[in-house]
Symmetry: D2
């Protein structure tokens, strides 16, 4: 089961097909088995007063970033849904791109769980960490 | 310290002042000491394919809803920031308004913590639950 | 499905049967559909230096307390396992009994999710809050 | 601030002094700046029916493991307390030692936050993941 099913390009194409707009704020940079790296380009639309990137933008990045790592492994299964997300905001993000490094720790028949570390571009310490659980539809045959 | 400082109207006014747009998707329905009720009117913009209200919309509702309960107690302090949020998505929300019931369980000098239960309008079981922690700036004098 | 299957006495009996010792630190005070109240009697064994009840004791109380509420609804199903637990420690607990008020927010075929508020006996504000997710074995017929 | 203050031996000595018994179930294997590796030797006392290591044992391992990484950085400060812990149980642990790899992602004046990955000895995928937040006493001078 731990064999990669889809490339970065195939995932982006699939997401745009089943969920138009899902990737408009994100760029898939790399996908390897159980891991993905996603970039959220800096945009003034995400800014809060004080120049901070908004919390909901980082939550969406974490959520989508781990979904990409999951789709890479399970293939064209559109119906996986987030069942749990928790996030710690660690530092005020810089007014810059944010890069999410996502790792799947479990890929079961019914649940997938992983971690996300998010870095302002060029920084060595993360601005946020998250973990996310997905419920995988039971019709999925791994 | 457990005396309410601001009414629903004062909070909405303050938020629009320091953070334009923060309340454009939300309506404060009731504020009492340590609790608030916030409505997110149904909007087709929040929809995912399949008619579901998006996860990030519910996360923003939880985050803002508890912030309203906090501001009611600490007054015009703009700089409180979310340090942790966790959310469980329990049921597919109906294509309807979502109502958040927020409760502060701790209001300390440095941290505030509370729970949020979110219901599709008219439903008796929540579509999501969340808990949120805020870091309160140390310049705040309670 | 939302009908109670077991009484407090039947749950205690069942737990002692399948999991000897599980309830030796806890007393089931009340069980109603989707809710339970559990008491952890004060014991010097749980103390940390400074007289605080240890974090792991409160985590075990949250975990077991919501399990009781779950068993009340699904009956003699021993194999449900905790898949996620998160806890906020809000105040130093008093050297006293701790009472957990547990509420199930979701009781699905595969997952159950609920909240726990824990109070030092006699206090009006909680010393800790938790939420817990259980994975229910698929052999279970609701 | 990111310089290590204490070695593994000094941390074990300090913990036994201020908190007798804290380390009786744990062995500090390695400490480097912002990271620590802790072993929980297998013990039949931690077993649940079915041979599983109990959830509270893993929670205590996560909590203590990250505390060790924190003490290495801040020195002999006994009063840091856990304010939040969340844990995902990913796989049934083997009847074997469990090794926790802990990483601090933030070491602020008031809060420290980190991740913990726990592995049954010899396994390549974790049996549990956790994140933990500590409140650092304000008397601490970093």
């Amino acid at each position: 089961m731990n064999e990669q099913q889809l490339s970065a390009e195939e995932i982006a194409e699939f997401l745009n097909e089943v969920f138009p707009g899902a990737m408009e704020n994100f760029k898939i940079e790399e996908v390897v088995p159980m891991r993905a790296r996603i970039r959220m380009p800096f945009s003034t639309r995400q800014l809060r007063p004080g120049g901070t990137i908004s919390g909901p933008s980082l939550m969406a990045l974490a959520d989508t970033g781990l979904w990409v790592a999951l789709l890479a492994m399970i293939g064209r299964v559109p119906l996986s849904v987030t069942s749990h997300l928790d996030i710690d905001f660690l530092r005020k993000p810089a007014p810059a791109d944010v890069i999410a490094h996502t790792t799947l720790h479990k890929l079961g028949k019914r649940l997938a769980v992983g971690d996300v570390l998010m870095y302002s571009d060029g920084e060595s310490m993360p601005c946020a960490r998250a973990s996310v659980t997905y419920a995988i539809p039971s019709s999925h045959k791994p």
